[in-house]
């Protein structure tokens, strides 16, 4: 009797977990991760704690640089405020001639140093919020402020699903979105928020976990 359905033959290679060689070549090009990198495939100069000797980083993600625009704008605005003070005080009939010059100088310097630290902490919050995908696992490094940081990682075999959302006008223009990685059971889910090229990132992770998206 003729077979109605013959299941496709699965080779050993198809059942095995994907490796770097299995990922589509156009997604893997060697890159140099510089100070402002937010999407980098196969970065050769990035290393993380507990990285195995033969463990290669395939994807390095941060929030899109455009998401820094708010604190950069605030910094510029705060920097300009003291320049306006000599013009504002006469308008408001305020007299500061009784304040010693030394105190004014120290106050100005302190003010600018405080702005500098605001910019530095804001930059660090962006710089150290990193999402790393290697051949074996996903590492999510979160840096909330000067006293809180969180490092989470999961093996590729624990990942169930990966998807992304790209909502809004600005995120569409600059091509960034949120990448969500769902893990098995009670493990925490991973997310790379405002990541550049979310479709490509999802594709890389999906290829690694075995299901082509």
């Amino acid at each position: 009797m003729e077979d109605i359905f013959v299941s496709p033959h699965h080779s050993k290679k198809e059942d095995a977990p994907m490796t770097r060689q299995d990922i589509e070549p156009e997604l893997i090009t060697k890159h140099h991760a510089h100070l402002f990198s937010s999407f980098c495939t196969d970065p050769h100069d990035v290393h993380f704690e507990n990285q195995e000797e033969d463990e290669k980083i395939l994807l390095f993600l941060r929030r899109h640089f455009i998401t820094n625009i708010s604190w950069i704008f605030i910094t510029i605005l705060l920097t300009l405020i003291p320049v306006l003070i000599p013009f504002l005080f006469p308008l408001l009939n305020l007299n500061i001639s009784f304040v010693p010059t030394g105190l004014i100088t120290i106050s100005f310097l302190f003010y600018y140093l405080a702005i500098f630290s605001y910019a530095l902490v804001s930059f660090m919050t962006w710089f150290y919020n990193i999402f790393i995908v290697t051949e074996q696992r996903i590492v999510d490094i979160d840096y909330s402020n000067t006293v809180i940081h969180n490092v989470a990682e999961t093996k590729m075999t624990h990942i169930h699903d990966v998807n992304y959302t790209q909502v809004g006008f600005i995120s569409s223009i600059f091509n960034y979105g949120n990448v969500f990685v769902q893990t098995a059971g009670s493990e925490v889910n991973f997310e790379a928020l405002s990541a550049p090229k979310p479709r490509e990132a999802t594709k890389i992770i999906a290829n690694l976990i075995g299901g082509k998206k």
């Binding site: 993380f48 030394g102 105190l103 120290i106 902490v121 790393i132 490094i141 490092v151």
Partner: protein, 68 residues
Amino acid sequence: MELTALIVKITTLTLIGFYVIFTLVIFNQVLVMNRIVMLNHASNLLKIIATVHIILAVSLFIAALVIL
């Protein structure tokens, strides 16, 4: 007037003193984060910036101590 000047000086120095401690916390965070993830040149640059930040804060403290 002397008392007011003294109060202003002590208040300013205390504020800047706390700020110096804050810069040390930032520097420590940079070191901790650089241990967790290392991006060759970029991490070193951030360490240099954090060091300069401490130097500036300490310089301001000394300047306040002398000028006020």
